[in-house]
Symmetry: D2
Subunit: 499 residues, 4 copies
Amino acid sequence: MAIRTGQEYIQSLRGRNLKVYLFGELVKEPVDHPMIRPSINAVAETYDLAVREEELAAPMSKISGKRVNRFLHIAESAQDLVLQNKMQRKLGQLTGTCFQRCVGMDALNSLHSVTFEIDEKYHTNYHKNLLDFIRKMQEENLVIGGAMTDVKGDRSKAPSEQIDEDLFLHVVKRTPEGVYVTGAKAHQTGCINSHWIIVMPTIRLLEKDKDWAIVGAIPVDAPGITYIYGRQSCDTRSMEEGDIDSGNSKFAGQEAMIIFDNVFIPNNLIFMNGEYEFAAMLVERFTCYHRRSYVCKTGLGDVLIGAAAAIADYNGIPDVSHIRDKLVEMTHLNESIYAAGISSSYQAQEMKSGVWLNDDMLANVCKHNVTRFPYEISRLAQDIAGGIVVTMPSEKDFRHPVTGPLLKKYLAGRKGVDVENRMRILRLIENMTLGRNAVGYLTESMHGAGSPQAQRIQIARQMQLGYKKKLAKSLANVKEDAEDTPENSDYFKRVFKLR
Amino acid sequence: MAIRTGQEYIQSLRGRNLKVYLFGELVKEPVDHPMIRPSINAVAETYDLAVREEELAAPMSKISGKRVNRFLHIAESAQDLVLQNKMQRKLGQLTGTCFQRCVGMDALNSLHSVTFEIDEKYHTNYHKNLLDFIRKMQEENLVIGGAMTDVKGDRSKAPSEQIDEDLFLHVVKRTPEGVYVTGAKAHQTGCINSHWIIVMPTIRLLEKDKDWAIVGAIPVDAPGITYIYGRQSCDTRSMEEGDIDSGNSKFAGQEAMIIFDNVFIPNNLIFMNGEYEFAAMLVERFTCYHRRSYVCKTGLGDVLIGAAAAIADYNGIPDVSHIRDKLVEMTHLNESIYAAGISSSYQAQEMKSGVWLNDDMLANVCKHNVTRFPYEISRLAQDIAGGIVVTMPSEKDFRHPVTGPLLKKYLAGRKGVDVENRMRILRLIENMTLGRNAVGYLTESMHGAGSPQAQRIQIARQMQLGYKKKLAKSLANVKEDAEDTPENSDYFKRVFKLR
Amino acid sequence: MAIRTGQEYIQSLRGRNLKVYLFGELVKEPVDHPMIRPSINAVAETYDLAVREEELAAPMSKISGKRVNRFLHIAESAQDLVLQNKMQRKLGQLTGTCFQRCVGMDALNSLHSVTFEIDEKYHTNYHKNLLDFIRKMQEENLVIGGAMTDVKGDRSKAPSEQIDEDLFLHVVKRTPEGVYVTGAKAHQTGCINSHWIIVMPTIRLLEKDKDWAIVGAIPVDAPGITYIYGRQSCDTRSMEEGDIDSGNSKFAGQEAMIIFDNVFIPNNLIFMNGEYEFAAMLVERFTCYHRRSYVCKTGLGDVLIGAAAAIADYNGIPDVSHIRDKLVEMTHLNESIYAAGISSSYQAQEMKSGVWLNDDMLANVCKHNVTRFPYEISRLAQDIAGGIVVTMPSEKDFRHPVTGPLLKKYLAGRKGVDVENRMRILRLIENMTLGRNAVGYLTESMHGAGSPQAQRIQIARQMQLGYKKKLAKSLANVKEDAEDTPENSDYFKRVFKLR
Amino acid sequence: MAIRTGQEYIQSLRGRNLKVYLFGELVKEPVDHPMIRPSINAVAETYDLAVREEELAAPMSKISGKRVNRFLHIAESAQDLVLQNKMQRKLGQLTGTCFQRCVGMDALNSLHSVTFEIDEKYHTNYHKNLLDFIRKMQEENLVIGGAMTDVKGDRSKAPSEQIDEDLFLHVVKRTPEGVYVTGAKAHQTGCINSHWIIVMPTIRLLEKDKDWAIVGAIPVDAPGITYIYGRQSCDTRSMEEGDIDSGNSKFAGQEAMIIFDNVFIPNNLIFMNGEYEFAAMLVERFTCYHRRSYVCKTGLGDVLIGAAAAIADYNGIPDVSHIRDKLVEMTHLNESIYAAGISSSYQAQEMKSGVWLNDDMLANVCKHNVTRFPYEISRLAQDIAGGIVVTMPSEKDFRHPVTGPLLKKYLAGRKGVDVENRMRILRLIENMTLGRNAVGYLTESMHGAGSPQAQRIQIARQMQLGYKKKLAKSLANVKEDAEDTPENSDYFKRVFKLR
């Protein structure tokens, strides 16, 4: 029976045998843990949206022949990629946080073409394995987490060169039925609230790194897996009474470290196994999808702009010119991110396997702006909010018989504004700029899908200086100049493609 | 007989009876004036491109039923708008300057829907007039300049409030055959090298401004028109011997002031006449197209990035990390502009008249980035170029028997680099960052299609703070708050349109 | 007996009768409250520094004729102001947080000249009152908090226009012995750990606001005062076991709302009483000192740059060029702040009362950079730190028998780096960019001593456009132009003062 | 007889036997060449200022025992360095361009300590030579140019490794009376209008580069010297009739390439000869002075801000909030530069030779901001100016009987504004942002005294990461960490110096 609603999804997570550690204790039932629950709520919203807005979030899939959640859908057109972005922005608006399902979606889509191309070269069976897996996921409507980022140890060394081989996840044993893997994946958003995890290598591999070239699907509760839950700024506010101080009491993100100790992957769930030269291709295509998925942050930006506008209104100065101007600047930056994402999706191309891949240059441009603009939007939101955003007393003081009335008296804004509402909006701004969802809105915007330098490297690879030098030399009448070596990027082919 | 090639176009400009003043003299034949010719060459390139790359630059038109130059084409789909952008970038790459035809294209497209909607309200005949005019232009393949920007006088006053009524172009006499107009249009790019000019109001008009609500087509050599050619930085270098010091000897832009003294427009060439309340709509739609047309500057950016890469190579340090990093930054900024333009074109909608209009918010975001990023790209280009970009002796010194050999000896770069080539690239960088084409790449990027504040106003109109406040209040559990007044923007409807 | 050391200072705070509310409870002994204590430690450091580095932090005072803590010292020269800045940077380095004593210092210094000038006009006795008070403070070596920021209510209305008169602190009763005041001061750094508070008006006042024109000194435990402690990001981590997760376990800032209910000020402790026209002067001089006091943030910047450098080293990539370049950028921004502060102090002038006042334009420039650069430094620190800065499990997990060893294995950096040390530095970066001290390093940098717009207004007042227009007109040979109205700023007089 | 006034100075330049090439011709009398004269006028202003404002520009010198022009003065205190900055800002305001004498001043000051320290090591006589030379210069009141920047050839190679040894100036012959040097110096501001030139090496030298380690004084008209005048943007406008189009008709900068062909330097004018290890010291101290000398650009900034304010006024919108806000931003950036310069001068230290050297870190911070902020100030000036700044017709059209009246009619601004005045201010803005003085205000700001990367390297050398890491580790309770290697910078010693 397929899961349909958010409620059914939450129900499906109960009673699993997950080993999750948090604050030095094994968590009994993650679903009921007040610090974990908001991240589950965020994923639940991805189910409810698919019910409410089918066209946006539940397209028809050629694979299963039925409507499926878009997070499980393989992009069949550029338009499909554009609609991913629109869904991402919508969910960002609805949750104000990371809803944690993009990694899985982007993993499936990138594996679609990569497995096809491995099979083409080696006559392996990975693409069929993948399609079977996708079909099953679509039919049961499950959540897939993608686990890519290894813990990495010494950043200047390759996987096989590390003192401890396990610092990158790798195959430790091979049997006729499958393989056993050991290692750890860091910063895993949306793992404890997933049903399945796909492990993938995180960097370009060489022949000596063959055992690290493993991709496969694993149930989240497979034997040998341990989760250690990551701390977030202000995380324990979710465990306090009341719903004001947390800022966004319903939704939050989740990051855990996943430790794999001899975890089994059967043959039919393996999508790469030793074909090390395809690791780079997988990483590049995955990050190509994923860097553009950061359009989700424009949804969060919409929320934060709204919060800033609301507090200016509560303070009685919504139309002061410098406030207005800052709201315009926030909007401008936010839409600059959106524009880069949409254009990347739109400027997509079809891969041999039939899946569509968005434009890589523009995806990197999108993500690179995401490593800058949310910080500036956040700074401007704090500017508009005023100092009270970090000095406001607790909800408990607000509910207290002595201090409550004092706070209601002295935190008054313009006439007619309810003080509690003012506090709520201030706490939301704190939440998104310093607190729990600042983790997602800021730091994850910096490092998710690759840190800024990773985008710069990828932009450098595609900037086609040779082509551009020719343009300049032609206009400057430079003659008989040495030819540049041919470039391996086809960015301008895509730019000038007429379709 | 339709014009086909650039050469034929240049021929078509000869022997007209234009009154053009430059440096206090009447210009005999603008085509042969060394300071004017580069701007004519740039337009000629728009003809040659249409011959060479039909798909890109010469689409089929429903109006004339034949292939036409894209600058005369009415957009029949979002894809048509995207292709405008691609053609604009290509022409920017080929000319390194403003090719001066976008205003005409954007004027025709915006008038298509506006005339349709005036007719709908007033049962006038403007739309048919316009279609007839377009058909004729397509058949003869002519260049149209759009003349919008009035000289404006006191910026704090409306047209009818100015001390001198002529400070905004207006109807001074009406006859059964048509109207007579007087006034002046400033900063007109591509007028002297056009065949026709369309005059349009430049701001929102009130009832008392009725006489200023005039739109019509006028041949460039109509009686009563005087052109005064504008100076550009380093303009006279085009009049010197040699081709190095001008930096880009073949191509440049052109701006003139056009003075209309009782110029006649016959009825069949009038597209608005007194319907003052449609002036704002025309301005908004025109700037919507035109602000996204600034994608052309990414073509210039490509040239400048190429020039910077070339000079780094000539200096022997192409792979130094800070040089590389600056080239990446330049590329990132350049593609951020492109992305905003493309996404605006793609997120288009069909108007009642059948023409497609690109997204207004994203068009403003595009142009607003254009008022910032080319300045930073230019700054980085100067950084990479080194001080020699502004201290290099003249070509004449380079050709001189005494100083020539000294310069060849002392301006040597890395081994194997021809000194003249190095000089040429440096002059191109000077040309684009301080010289003649800096006018187009920088200052026109600032003010063309509206100064930065105009974009901020337009972004403010569409930022839907009410919608965003609701998102924030929902997540912060704000209850029973006063409702905001409804907003007149439909930006988020377009964002979440599923097509 | 004067307090000497930090320990003696802490002892002096015990057993007072303070009414402090926190999380809905009356705090028994603030000194022993784990969430409050770090802010007390920070102030204690200001005592210990004065013991360790007399020249820097304990100058000779003309008032008491002895060495006093610099925070109680009246600046007797420009050099004294410079040394304030140096002490502030040092304390920022030592504590990594706001040490909370600058407000008091800047209040005393600004009152020195303002009381003198009121007396001069009205033959009042305020200056003597102030000198007596300062002498007493110096002799006992006490901590003074300055309470300026009222809660303000509707930001578009003056004090006397508010619905509730108490939204700005004001005199509610006058007796022969003194006055009684009611109201509330928000965001009070360093009040609970002070011995005395000086209340001051927060904005320009008009005649109708006379009752709001009150300045006086009050013991922190005076009858009628209630403190409500403000929440900070991650505040409760100080209440958890262990010392890692808090990031900076020893030092933090403190903000509380202070509510005054009919609090008495005797005549000899009153420094302004109804002379409303001097409120603006006091605010301007206070903010002039205080905006330059934000040089302290460069000390925090030093810590954060050091933390970023340390984590890069632990990760094995201290010399990668982009990391290096980011550390340079952080340093450049940090020193730009320092430079503005020092130059403001150096370009000081002597006031009629004998106190020295630093340059106001440069003080505003200093603070305005503080509202920008720490955010960028913080962003770059997060960039260098990597995603682990927000996803790292808790210290409890690190101490747990199952998860501890896993974390030690998988959070390894380069060879030889202790994992716990790596965690500690990451937590410090979290602390300063999102956590408890981000409140001081970021949001207080934004709003303390006035929000950005307040600096812009003050810069506008002093920018002497008339003077500058004359320079331009002279070079452009503009003749017979209308004279500008005379300007009331003397900034350029100070710039060109020869001393 | 000492020169006194600007007029006398100009007279002193006549009739020399200089070989100056410009546009492929030998210039007969540079003083009377319309393109060269404005740069001579700028230097003349340095004489007149010394007459008008003795305290600022003509201090008492210990060397000659008399009042001397500050450009010939050796700094005897930190205050002397501060006053250099104030004089520089003043001259920037008065000329709106580079007045070309700072290189000489900074060369003399840096040689003062370097010659002293060479003598100390090698018992040479350089310091006495230098003092004699300075005394003579002071007595005759002459202009000294400093020639440092070699043409450099392949930037990746040392002087002795270049294909052509002459690409760095070096000794080609030694006789008992002195040495002969050959080579070329690029971008020499203020050489043709100097009386003497001091040649200096431009980079760190190794033992094999010994012959390149030469410093000495040479009369500008010494046999063997050839000057080739560099082109500047819009340079030939100075040769046109009228005084409007040039923007700043009186003042401009000057850059020439100086070619030395076997030029003789007698022993008593040699200040370094083979002591290669002191080349780096000289470059560092010279750039330390010189990077702070860029405070001059704040004077140009004052002019440009004034011009922007004037044009806003002429357009009728001086008080529109976004205009006002941009003027504030321009001022803020301009004063941020000033602050860094002043603080560097103030935080100076005395050298062994008795000369004072400003703070190196802050000097680099100052110059680094100069490579950024003038570009942004310039961008904002263009924003305020409007498009007319680059499209305005020529002065000749303005004087023409047909077009003149048309332009006066149609370029009207607000009531009462003279159109010619409006044109003049627009041309000044063009001059400073694109034209002749943009060369000095922008590109020279970028590359003069070292390109941005040179400052970053110097900041990196002094950022004391080891010291800062210790601060961070102390606060994070990091224990038993490996010690960092000791650092060779003493920046923080200077910061915390108590004087």
